[in-house]
Symmetry: C2
Subunit: 348 residues, 2 copies
C-alpha cells in the first residue's frame, strides 16, 4: 500500500446530541490523516457500514448497555473492510474483516484494540460483503439468538405462531425465515404493500400485516387464529400494545428494539396492555446480541448453510457514499429502507 | 345440624359492573335458603373470607385468566369454613376446609363441584384460620411460587437484592420474609411509616421505602446500592417505572398485580421505562397462582415449618361482618389495610 501519510481519512463525527430525529447539525464531517496503529496493529479500509436503529441510542447521553458515543468522536458503527496495513502476524494485507469500523474510511487499530473492537476475519465465499453485515452479521445474530434463546419456539409442538415486527428490516427478515425453517407459523408486520408482498412471496412468511394501510388488530385476528406464542418486537409503541392483546398463555415477547420510540422527544410510550403478561403468565425479555459473542460462529455456520441451500434469502438496501450517512440513518426511522440498510463506503 | 331449610344464607351479589372504585350500588345483599347439595355433596359454613385485589379484576367484563363474575351472581371469594352437612364419605361435619366459598354465609357444593372449587381440608394445628387465608393460603402460595419460580433468586450468589412493593400487604409480607430466609437482601416499598417500621422491625426486611412521604427513586439508590436483581411487583404504575431504572443485568420482574391501576377509568399506565429490560437483558413475567396447585402442598409444608420455628410472621387485618364486604374491598385500593385483609363472617 501507499504510505499512511498519503491517505486521507474522511470521518463523520457526533457534533451534538440530537433531540428527536437527528438533524444535519448533529454531524460534523472531518478529514484527517490515518493514525499509525503502532507495533502489532492494523489499518482497515472500510468497504461498507451497517446502519442500525441501535445507533440512535448510542447518540444519547446516559447509561445503556454500552457507553454513549462521546461528543466530537467518530460515530460508532459496525462494518466490513479490507486490511490495508498489518504489523500483526495474525492478519495480512488483503484480509477481509468485520468489526467496529466506525463511520470513517479507514480505521486504525492498535494491537490491543483489535479483539476489543470485534475485528474478525471473514470468508467471502461463505457470504457476500453485505451478507456479512446482514444475515451473517449483527442483525442475523440478533435474529438467531433472540428467536432461539429468548423466544424459545417450542419445536416439538407443530406450528407455534411467531409474529415479528419490522418484518422487512434486517433483523425481521431473518427472524421470520429462521422461524419458518424451524417449523413455526410466521406472521410479519411491515409498512406498505411492497414490503409485505416481498415478505410473503419471496421469504415465505405465512402472512404479513401492513400496519400502514390496515388494522394490526384485525390482521392478527385473521392471520393468528390460534393466538401468538412468540412475538419478536423491533418497534415498540402501538404495535407492541396490540400484539399484547393477542398473546397466548406462556407467550414469549423478545424486546429487541423500539424503533417507533427512539426519536421521541417526550417519554417512551409504555405498553399499556402489559398486564396481559399477568393474565397469560407470559414473559417479556430484553436481549443484547453482544452477550452471545462466544456462540456467533455456531449461528454463522448454521445460517451460511441455509443461504447455500437457498432456504434463506437476504435483501440489502445499499446507499453509497460516506457523506450520505446522516440521511441513510434517518431512512431507518422513516421506514424508507427495504431490507438491511448498508452504507457503501468504498468498492474495493 | 339443624335442617337446611331453617338456615338463612346471606349473600353479596354483583348487581352491576363498577367503573373505577366500586360504589355501594354495585352490590346487592340477598337472603336465601341454603340449597341442598344433593347426593355426595357438602355444605360449608363460611368462617372467614380472603379479600384480595384480584377481586377487582373479576368484576370486569372480558377475557381474563378466569371468567368474570356474572351480573347477579354471588361475588367470588376464597375462604375458610366448617362443614355443617356432608353426604360425602371423604368429608365429615366439623371438618375445616378452604376453597371457593364466595361472599355468603353458606356454600352448598354438589359432589362434582367440590374439587373444582378447590375445597381442601386443612389442619388448624398447622396454622390458624386466618393464616390459612394468608401465608398458607393464596397470598402465601403467590409469594412462594412468584418469588421462587419466576423470580428465581440466585441462592448461590450471596445477597441478591429483592425489592417488593405492597410490602406490608398479604403477598408482600411473605415475599420479603421468604427472600430473607433464602439469603437475599430485601427492600420493601409500602405506604406510611407504620407499615414501613413493621416490615423492618418485625419482619426483618433490610429496609423499607415509604412511597407516601419520600422518593422511591432516592430510596432505591440508598437501600439498593448494588441495584435490583428481583422485583416483585404488586402495584404497577409509577413505582414499577421507578424500579425499572434501577434493575441489574439479567434482573427478573414478577408481575403479580397492579393495584394502583385496577380502578383506572382510563387505560392502564404502561411502564414507560420498559426498554430498561432491553438494556439490561432483563425479564418481566406474569404469574397466576392457580398454575402451581399441584405443588401447593410442598410450599405449605415449607412455610408451616417457618411459622413453627418463628422464622416467619404473619399479620392479618380482620374486618367483621359480611355486610362490611363492600367497604373491606375498597380498603385495599385505598391502602387502608395493614396486613392480609380478612373478612370474618362467623366465629365458629
Amino acid at each position: 500500500m501507499s504510505s499512511l501519510a498519503s491517505l486521507k481519512n474522511h470521518q463523520v463525527r457526533l457534533a451534538k446530541r440530537p433531540v428527536g430525529l437527528p438533524t444535519s447539525d448533529v454531524w460534523q464531517f472531518t478529514e484527517e490523516a490515518v493514525a499509525d496503529p503502532g507495533p502489532g496493529g492494523i489499518v482497515v479500509k472500510t468497504l461498507a457500514l451497517s446502519i442500525d436503529p441501535a445507533m440512535r441510542g448510542w447518540m444519547n447521553e446516559g447509561k445503556s448497555y454500552i457507553p454513549p458515543v462521546e461528543l466530537g468522536a467518530v460515530m460508532r458503527a459496525g462494518g466490513i473492510g479490507r486490511i490495508v496495513l498489518s504489523h500483526n502476524e495474525n492478519y495480512k494485507e488483503g484480509d477481509i474483516v468485520i468489526g467496529g469500523l466506525d463511520v470513517q474510511e479507514y480505521s486504525s487499530f492498535p494491537e490491543k484494540s483489535i479483539k476489543r473492537s470485534g475485528v474478525t476475519k471473514v470468508d467471502l465465499r461463505v457470504g457476500s460483503e453485505t451478507q456479512w453485515l446482514n444475515v451473517l452479521g449483527m442483525p442475523g445474530m440478533t435474529a438467531y439468538f433472540g428467536l432461539m434463546d429468548i423466544g424459545q419456539p417450542n419445536l416439538t409442538k407443530a406450528g407455534e405462531t411467531v409474529v415479528v415486527s419490522g418484518a422487512a428490516g434486517a433483523v425481521g427478515q431473518t427472524v421470520g425465515q429462521l422461524a419458518k425453517i424451524k417449523g413455526c407459523r410466521v406472521v410479519g408486520i411491515a409498512g406498505g404493500p411492497e414490503k409485505c408482498n416481498w415478505v410473503v412471496n419471496e421469504l415465505g412468511f405465512d402472512a404479513c400485516i401492513d400496519y400502514k394501510t390496515g388494522s394490526v388488530k384485525d390482521g392478527l385476528k385473521q392471520h393468528c387464529p390460534e393466538g401468538v406464542d412468540v412475538y419478536f418486537d423491533n418497534v415498540g409503541g402501538e404495535i407492541l400494545d396490540t400484539v399484547l392483546t393477542r398473546i397466548n398463555k406462556k407467550a414469549r415477547i423478545i424486546i429487541c428494539g423500539a424503533i417507533s420510540q427512539y426519536n421521541n422527544t417526550t417519554a417512551v410510550n409504555g405498553p399499556k396492555n402489559y398486564l396481559s403478561l399477568l393474565v397469560n403468565r407470559a414473559r417479556m425479555e430484553g436481549m443484547v446480541v453482544f452477550d452471545y459473542a462466544d456462540r456467533y460462529h455456531l449461528a454463522v455456520a448454521e445460517m451460511a448453510g441455509y443461504l447455500k441451500q437457498g432456504k434463506m434469502k437476504s435483501k440489502e438496501d445499499v446507499v453509497s457514499g460516506i457523506q450520505k450517512f446522516p440521511e441513510a440513518l434517518n431512512m431507518l426511522f422513516e421506514g424508507k429502507n427495504f431490507g438491511k440498510l448498508v452504507l457503501r463506503v468504498a468498492s474495493e
